[in-house]
């Protein structure tokens, strides 16, 4: 066992450069022999130490960027962890059906709509402006007509006298 530990295979495994076959072998040996498990744990602590020695403070805003992207991913992907999705597939059992209601209250104050609505909104805006123009034109026209009518009535009254 000591010979296996001294062979350097555990170090290559911890550094991620062991072949697939070697990695499988190391994992098997780790399960079978507590000495190997302990040696691997020590090597992982060594890796942590060397990382601590070269640690850098992430720039401000890094975590919010990570959080934002994870949120976007979680919105796109199914919410169940992979382990449960695999279990459903293995047992050929359907996952529980989602509830028959729509969640109308959302935490976000924004909504997402299809791009085609952009043109609909633009058309509604332009038509609204045209109707407003017509309304102002006919209002002014009507006012002018009423003024003319009033003048005519006044002229007719004067003529009658």
């Amino acid at each position: 066992m000591q010979e296996y530990i001294n062979s350097g295979i555990l170090e290559t495994y911890v550094l991620g450069c062991a072949s697939e076959e070697e990695a499988r072998e190391v994992l098997y040996m780790k399960e079978q022999h507590p000495e190997i498990r302990s040696a691997l744990e020590q090597l992982e602590i060594d890796m942590e130490r060397i990382a601590e020695a070269g640690a850098l403070l992430p720039p401000p805003g890094t975590w919010s960027k990570i959080e934002k992207q994870i949120e976007e991913i979680s919105l796109r992907q199914p919410t169940e962890p992979a382990i449960y999705r695999e279990r459903y597939n293995d047992n050929t059992q359907a996952p529980p059906t989602p509830p028959d209601y729509i969640n109308v209250e959302s935490e976000s104050s924004h909504m997402r709509i299809h791009k085609v609505w952009r043109w609909v909104f633009a058309a509604v805006f332009v038509l609204g402006k045209i109707f407003l123009g017509f309304a102002i034109y006919y209002y002014l026209e009507n006012r002018q007509m009423q003024e003319q009518l009033l003048e005519l009535k006044t002229e007719m009254k004067q003529l009658k006298k």
Partner: protein
């Protein structure tokens, strides 16, 4: 810690931050692996980072100018290693090389490379224990 490692590989702060974000974005897809008994979270993240950096390692390999490469900054552990131990440890850790490639570079066999790697880890551990006492 992970950002420091990635920076030592890519030697560029912005690029390192981008890789860091990519690695953490991969975490939700393998979240169950983190909860497995005996998993060291940092080492798992580092292996994920190496996977993400594999394309970068390949580019560096293609542009290899023959000069030995170590980490971007001085490191109290690697500084204690001999030139050969540094070539092996840094070659695998910071340049993503495998033992066969390094064996060919050093004109030795893979057993020799593993021996040097083991020695490098002994140096880290001895210094780690030494630091722990004080």
């Amino acid at each position: 810690m992970l950002l420091g490692y990635i920076f030592d590989v890519v030697k560029d702060e912005q690029q390192a931050e981008k890789y860091l974000i990519d690695v953490f974005n991969d975490v939700p897809t393998v979240l169950h692996e983190f909860s497995e008994h005996g998993t060291n979270a940092y080492c798992k993240l580092q292996l994920m980072a190496k996977k993400r950096l594999s394309g970068y390692f390949k580019n560096v390999e293609d542009c290899e100018d023959g000069r030995p490469r170590t980490s971007a900054r001085p490191n109290k552990y690697t500084d204690l290693m001999t030139a050969e131990q540094q070539l092996v440890f840094c070659g695998i850790h910071y340049q993503g090389k495998n033992t066969a490639t390094i064996a060919a570079e050093l004109n030795t066999n893979e057993e020799g490379v593993r021996r040097l790697l083991k020695e490098a880890f002994i140096i880290i551990r001895n210094n780690r224990d030494h630091a722990g006492i004080h």
